[in-house]
């Protein structure tokens, strides 16, 4: 149990520190790398909760796919050594104050609410269960969201190609 706590503290600290660095770093490529580290530590949290499939999806799709896409677009649109101009202190201060108020409000609400932790034994999750539930159309099936997400992905793919396509010179 102690090693569990240690891992949680490690991942939680990594998430918080690197997410703050990724929104305050003035070099955009470094910000992308910090985002990558945040996503990897999030998948570590999923591994801790025993959701191996979700953690693998997080690693491959988020940390592998989206971050690579973001880094590609950074390389296409800005110079690597370029530093972003610093933000005005007024904007930074007001944003920080509102964000800190939000954090305090949410955290007090979370700490006051008494969650009733379930005592039911956790479900054994393997690929068979995930596949059957994802494509099942009975009570525990998720076939409809699966189909909706596939249509959304198709639409997004077509839209991305159409938008990024070069226009013909007219």
């Amino acid at each position: 149990m102690e090693s569990n706590k240690l891992m949680f503290i490690l991942f939680g600290a990594m998430i918080i520190v690197f997410s703050i660095l990724s929104v305050t770093s003035r070099r955009i490529l470094r910000a992308a790398v910090y985002l990558l580290l945040v996503l990897i530590s999030t998948s570590g949290l999923y591994f801790m909760l025993n959701y191996q499939f979700l953690a693998a999806v997080q690693l491959t799709l988020y940390a592998g796919g989206i971050v690579v896409l973001i880094i590609f677009s950074i390389l296409l649109t800005s110079h690597i050594n370029e530093r972003m101009e610093s933000i005005g202190w007024k904007k930074a201060a007001f944003s920080a104050i509102s964000v800190i108020i939000g954090i305090i409000l949410c955290c007090t609400t979370i700490l006051q609410f008494r969650f009733n932790a379930s005592t039911i034994a956790a479900k054994e999750i393997n690929m068979g269960v995930i596949g059957r539930e994802l494509l099942g159309y009975s009570q525990n099936g998720y076939a409809l969201p699966f189909e909706v997400i596939s249509i959304l992905l198709l639409a997004a793919m077509v839209a991305a190609i159409v938008v990024a396509k070069k226009e013909k010179a007219s």
């Binding site: 918080i16 910000a31 800005s78 700490l111 969201p145």
Partner: protein, 106 residues
């Protein structure tokens, strides 16, 4: 509550801090790609919430797990479309700073 030695609230607090850090980035950044990165942070923190609720409150079901999977897929689609738009904007304005890209029609 001491399911794994860690109370549920700790997960929620980590996710809350991550979400509001994303909000801070969204408010202060000017570059379109960094704004997109802040949105990814927020989506990711919501995912942590879903998964933690699923594990601690309804461990015999998989709703939060599948919702997190679908959010990941939506985030991927959103990032692809957003980056296509950003590249198109860069082609027209040679710039992706939100304060200088203020014309809807060129």
């Amino acid at each position: 509550m001491l399911n794994y030695g860690i109370p549920l609230q700790y997960f929620l607090i980590v996710a809350t801090i991550m979400f509001f850090v994303g909000v801070y980035g969204f408010l202060t950044r000017k570059n379109l790609i960094t704004i997109l990165m802040s949105i990814e942070l927020m989506l990711n923190s919501v995912n942590i919430n879903f998964v933690a609720f699923n594990k601690y409150l309804y461990p015999d079901k998989l709703q939060g797990h599948f919702f997190a999977l679908i959010v990941v897929a939506v985030a991927a689609a959103e990032a692809a479309v957003a980056i296509a738009i950003i590249i198109n904007i860069y082609r027209r304005f040679s710039n992706i700073n939100v304060e200088e890209v203020n014309e809807m029609k060129y």
